[in-house]
């Protein structure tokens, strides 16, 4: 009956997969144009206290690289630990919410909505009061930022699985954990990853905010300290490193997404069937 046959791809013209470096050229041009524009603008303006030129930032980097790299390492550490903590806590909470009876779920959810509508900055300053000026308070703040970024979407995805799929799991007598592992988590994964990407950025923010509220090291401390002494160049330098941390971590999450979601439509672009 079946007439479908398979043949080796060598016999078929398959559109080539897009190289991940295909955009490298256009990105380089974009960066060069942007940096050149900034450089020229800042030299014409000639107020390094307000707008330092990229070349000045690079020079500052050359002078202070040991300190900057050390601070970047500390902030990175806080961000990564906070992100992992927040993401795991958010995923577990979302699972817990599905498991709990409706009334308790609603109750907990209201608490979380309340916390989320409290200004994060207020919560962050509290965290510094409670957990001290060390790395712990920053990890907790970064974790908190991530937690809220990830929780909502994940929970929403868990409870809005296609009812027919739920029926299918009913029909095959699936237990709670099986339903979670075999249906809810895989079908929520694309959204979970999207929210993790947002969560990574939020974690960087959280770590910096934590450092602004009181620290002796880290990029946030550097921003605050340099601003006090009027060293705008170093503020820029710290900001550039924050961005770099964000990019690196975003890259890691995107890479993990590629590994874990080969079946997902947004990953299949450029592949041919």
């Amino acid at each position: 009956m079946a007439q479908e046959t398979l043949r080796p791809t060598s016999q078929v013209r398959v559109p080539a997969r897009r190289s991940p470096f295909a955009d490298l050229g256009s990105w380089t041009i974009f960066a060069v144009v942007l940096l050149a524009g900034w450089e020229i603008g800042s030299r014409l303006y000639n107020q390094p206290y307000l707008l330092p030129a990229p070349s000045q930032i690079i020079r500052a980097m050359g002078e202070d690289y040991a300190l900057v790299l050390d601070y970047a390492r500390i902030t990175m550490q806080e961000t990564v630990l906070g992100f992992v903590l927040g993401a795991v806590a958010a995923l577990l909470s979302a699972m817990l919410f599905v498991w709990l009876p409706k009334t308790i779920e609603d109750f907990l959810y209201r608490i979380i909505v309340t916390l989320n509508s409290t200004p994060f900055v207020a919560l962050a300053s509290l965290a510094v009061v409670w957990f001290g000026l060390g790395i712990t308070s920053k990890i907790i703040i970064a974790g908190m930022y991530t937690f809220f970024a990830v929780l909502y979407h994940t929970h929403k995805e868990f409870i809005s699985v296609d009812p027919m799929r739920e029926y299918l799991m009913d029909v095959y007598n699936a237990g709670w954990l099986q339903r979670m592992l075999l249906l809810k988590i895989p079908s929520a994964l694309p959204i979970i990853f999207t929210s993790l990407k947002g969560g990574v950025m939020a974690a960087v923010n959280g770590a910096i905010v934590g450092e602004l509220f009181g620290a002796f090291e880290g990029l946030g401390y550097m921003i605050l300290d340099s601003r006090y002494v009027g060293n705008t160049v170093r503020v820029f330098l710290a900001a550039v490193f924050c961005t770099l941390i964000g990019w690196v971590l975003l890259g890691v999450v995107t890479f993990a997404e590629r590994l874990l979601l080969p079946w997902h439509v947004s990953m299949a672009r450029g592949k041919s069937s």
Binding site: A2, L6, D162, Y167, D170, V171, Y172, N173, W263
Partner: protein
């Protein structure tokens, strides 16, 4: 021969309008009787089709038999058990309108799913794992998809996806197969092929089949008996069932049967019954 599927005076009503209330207190405003006074007994090895206009409760009947919904009234048994229990132990099995494959699992893992759910520790015991995988391979061979075992569902055509769903439904070796317009979304030719395929499985595995469709030709071609439903209760019978058409055409059935005058006669009978169902509505 005793009945393997029994529905006695089954009624099912859904709440259709709800008044939103404070603090979660909500009242049901109106109920819609979808199935009324539905009595059906299916013998072991019988192939019964249920047809009717859309919205007449065909799918509801199937959902009741699959234990997905509970009847408002009446008695229902599949293989002498409550429908939900029968489906859970694998005595009966459902195939839905859509294949409902999990796109993160390959075709073979989709077919493996029922075994995996029944036996959560399957992975740790290699001989059992091998046996399961052999079962899956055989099932995929039955639906002629063995070379697509490692394909993800989005790389398969609609007909192939539905074949994977059929293989999955057969994994626990059920006696009763419940199908809800499974080939409704397929083109004519693929549909004919799938019908023949289903009849082959029906013969080979000595299944009892309850098949919901809206196509009279398909119903007559496949079944021993066509149950025609109307939307709401029929005035004449006082039930959702307007008429039953017995299809005593010889088996095995081939596509040539569709050119046979006897076939046309049965289709005409079915169409007349369906017209009566529309009038009752």
């Amino acid at each position: 021969m005793s009945a393997i599927v029994e529905m006695e005076r089954i009624s099912k009503a859904y709440e259709v309008a709800r008044t939103p209330g404070l603090l979660g207190r909500r009242g049901a405003d109106r109920a819609l009787d979808v199935v009324t006074n539905f009595t059906l007994a299916v013998r072991q090895g019988e192939f019964v089709c249920v047809i009717g206009p859309s919205g007449c409760g065909k799918t509801t009947v199937l959902f009741l038999l699959a234990g997905i919904r509970d009847p408002s009234d009446g008695r229902i048994a599949v293989c002498g058990k409550a429908p939900a229990d029968a489906v859970r132990v694998g005595l009966s099995s459902v195939i839905f309108q859509q294949p409902i494959l999990f796109e993160w699992l390959t075709a073979e893992d989709n077919v493996l799913l029922p075994l995996r759910l029944r036996d959560p520790r399957w992975w740790w015991w290699p001989p059992r794992r091998a046996r399961y995988q052999e079962t899956v391979r055989q099932l995929l061979r039955t639906v002629e998809l063995e070379q697509f075992a490692r394909y993800y569902p989005d790389k398969l055509s609609g007909g192939m996806q539905q074949r994977v769903a059929i293989a999955r439904a057969l994994t626990l070796n059920p006696q009763v197969l419940l199908l809800d317009e499974p080939f409704g979304a397929l083109d004519e030719i693929t549909r004919d092929r799938m019908n023949l395929e289903l009849l082959r499985l029906y013969d080979e595995r000595e299944l009892t089949i309850l098949f919901v469709t809206h196509s009279i030709e398909e119903a007559v071609f496949l079944s021993d008996r066509v149950v025609v439903m109307s939307r709401g209760a029929s005035a004449r019978t006082g039930s959702s069932i307007v008429r039953e058409v017995r299809v005593d055409l010889p088996r095995p059935r081939r596509l040539a049967l569709k050119e046979d005058p006897a076939f046309f006669q049965k289709v005409r009978e079915g169409r007349a019954a369906l017209r009566e169902a529309q009038v009752a509505d």
